[in-house]
């Protein structure tokens, strides 16, 4: 195809484009694809038989169960938080809003290890309310509640930060219309707000879930690493790896890698869906 002078002026020559694209793909291949592929090759190095054997092991099973429990509690909790925070921040004007937004993002700027530590200082034997908990025989750290708390902490911002800009952009005219037609507050929320934000909500939940199931640093501090009891999949991966059981470690890791791939797939699909809807809205706006 002959190039017009205009496109020569605003783009690079073909060799430069080709070289930059190749360089970018090499960067992706070396830093992203290679680690991903190696998880599966290492897991299957000794064949499928040993791979499934490693996954059927009771400690691996209990790690999988605990990971699911932690995510099943943490994600809905942060979903409810995200909805409440976004409703307050996006639909109303009040003082201190920007401070509140910064506070919501705080868990992203705290090192996961520090996140675990703060719960040790609260609930550990030397902690603030640790002695009281001890007297009443309640275990939080080195037990499941601690793991759930640490998981909740690291996933606090996901849903909220996805919903706030979305709901701000949508404004509140539709809600006001529903209310003036006699809908109750909850009806308005369920029938008007929720359908409008469902894709953003799904996006936030997917990312929160990936982080919840994969969290390592924060959970590692509060877990106590009791095999078969307080190990999540990432912690179990660490133990197996340190015992030189590489097939077992990578077999468990491959479950998490599959989860990551599913997460990325759903995420791209939601993004594609949102683009389609935006394009349709634009087309409708032109027609109307």
């Amino acid at each position: 195809m002959a190039q017009t002078p205009r496109s020569i002026a605003t783009t690079e020559s073909r060799p430069v484009r080709w070289a930059l694209t190749t360089l970018a793909l090499l960067f992706i291949a070396l830093f992203l694809l290679l680690p991903l592929v190696s998880v599966f090759t290492e897991a299957l190095r000794k064949g499928f038989g040993l791979y499934f054997e490693a996954l059927k092991e009771p400690d691996a099973w209990s790690a999988i169960k605990l990971t699911l429990i932690a995510a099943l509690i943490a994600v809905p909790l942060n979903l409810s938080f995200g909805l409440a925070a976004a409703w307050a921040i996006a639909k109303f004007d009040f003082k201190g809003k920007s401070i509140l937004i910064t506070l919501i993002d705080l868990p992203f700027s705290v090192s996961p290890v520090v996140a675990g530590l703060i719960y040790m200082l609260m609930f550990g034997t030397q902690g603030w309310i640790g002695p009281w908990l001890n007297d009443h025989d309640i275990k939080i750290v080195f037990a499941i509640p601690g793991i759930v708390l640490a998981t909740v902490f690291v996933t606090v911002p996901f849903v909220a930060r996805e919903l706030i800009p979305l709901m701000e952009a949508q404004g509140s005219e539709e809600e006001q219309a529903a209310l003036s037609l006699g809908a109750s507050g909850w009806q308005t929320f369920y029938r008007v707000t929720l359908p409008n934000i469902k894709w953003g909500l799904l996006y936030g939940v997917i990312l929160a879930n990936a982080r919840a199931m994969g969290e390592f640093g924060a959970v590692s501090v509060v877990s106590g690493h009791i095999r078969g009891q307080t190990n999540t999949i990432p912690l179990h991966v660490e133990i197996l790896y340190n015992e030189y059981n590489f097939v077992g470690a990578f077999a468990c890791a491959s479950i998490l890698a599959l989860l990551a791939l599913v997460t990325l797939g759903v995420k791209s699909w939601v993004e594609w869906r949102t683009e389609q809807l935006a394009a349709r809205d634009r087309a409708n706006a032109v027609d109307g």
Partner: protein, 277 residues
């Protein structure tokens, strides 16, 4: 102005009340416990703990490696964003989705995978072994792991700005006789600068606190390849809660300072882009 402006929508008190209660219980009170714990400690004891030579070595490694990883991603991220926005190539949607892999792949999985690839007998490690260059279990390994986990930041901050960049500006510059290189340096780069710096700062901040992906590849040798978050863990393993708290305070102060810088950069970026419209 009153605390809240009038609105016909219901549920403000419930939503804000729940938000504040939730944040307090999960985030604010536990963080306050950390500062409360450290306040019980005399200042010179605190200073003595946080300036321990082994710890200082870990600060240097954590900062140095994080800085290096952020610089690698500054260039790599700009290149990736540029290619993804400007050039058509097969499999683009797949590559675009893959950029987020470090956010989706658990850090421990990345850690053991990178440690295996860059070990002397691994896929990449064996290429360097004949020259006696070790990557895994050295400081280079730390940089590799941090580069992996912070890869998406610069791409994802630069990409939207590049997409919105008006072609007319470049055409105008070119029609006035600017070469392609001049257009890039004098027209495109200044527009991208706030986004580039924001992505750089986000990557750096994330790298400072990173733990899971690093500990497997670092080798964790005292004074050589121990990162600061690992020092907190090792203090905790010795039941030295005061020591662990002191290091955590240092890390938190650095994080908060970076958070301020990032907010400032985002404000600058928004102002810059707003003015152009």
């Amino acid at each position: 102005m009153a605390f809240k402006q009038h609105s016909v929508l219901p549920g403000f008190n419930l939503a804000l009340g729940y938000t504040l209660l939730y944040l307090s219980v999960i985030v604010l009170i536990p963080l306050a416990a950390l500062f409360f714990k450290s306040a019980q400690m005399p200042l010179d004891a605190f200073w003595h703990t946080v300036t321990d030579p082994r710890l200082v070595a870990s600060y240097k490694l954590t900062f140095g490696a994080s800085l290096l990883a952020a610089v690698i991603n500054l260039f790599g991220g700009l290149l990736l964003a540029w290619v993804l926005v400007r050039y058509p190539f097969p499999g683009k949607r797949f590559i675009d989705a893959m950029v987020d892999l470090p956010f989706a792949l658990p850090t421990a999985v990345a850690g053991i995978s990178l440690a295996t690839i860059y070990a002397p007998n691994g896929w990449v490690g064996q290429l360097f072994a004949p020259w006696d260059i070790k990557i895994a279990f050295t400081r280079i390994g730390v940089v590799i792991a941090l580069t992996f986990v912070t890869l998406p930041f610069v791409v994802r901050t630069v990409q939207p700005v590049l997409e919105d960049l008006e072609k007319e500006l470049e055409e105008a510059a070119a029609s006035l006789g600017a070469t392609r290189g001049q257009v890039f340096r004098k027209v495109i780069l200044p527009t991208l600068l706030p986004a580039l710096l924001t992505g750089f700062a986000l990557a750096f901040a994330r790298a400072i606190g990173e733990y899971g992906s690093v500990i497997f590849i670092a080798g964790n040798m005292p004074f050589v390849s121990e990162i600061t978050p690992l020092m907190i863990i090792s203090k905790l393993e010795q039941y030295d809660y005061v020591g662990a708290t002191s290091i955590a305070i240092v890390m938190l102060l650095v994080s908060f300072a970076l958070l301020l810088v990032i907010n400032g950069l985002q404000w600058w970026s928004a102002k810059r882009l707003g003015r152009r419209k």
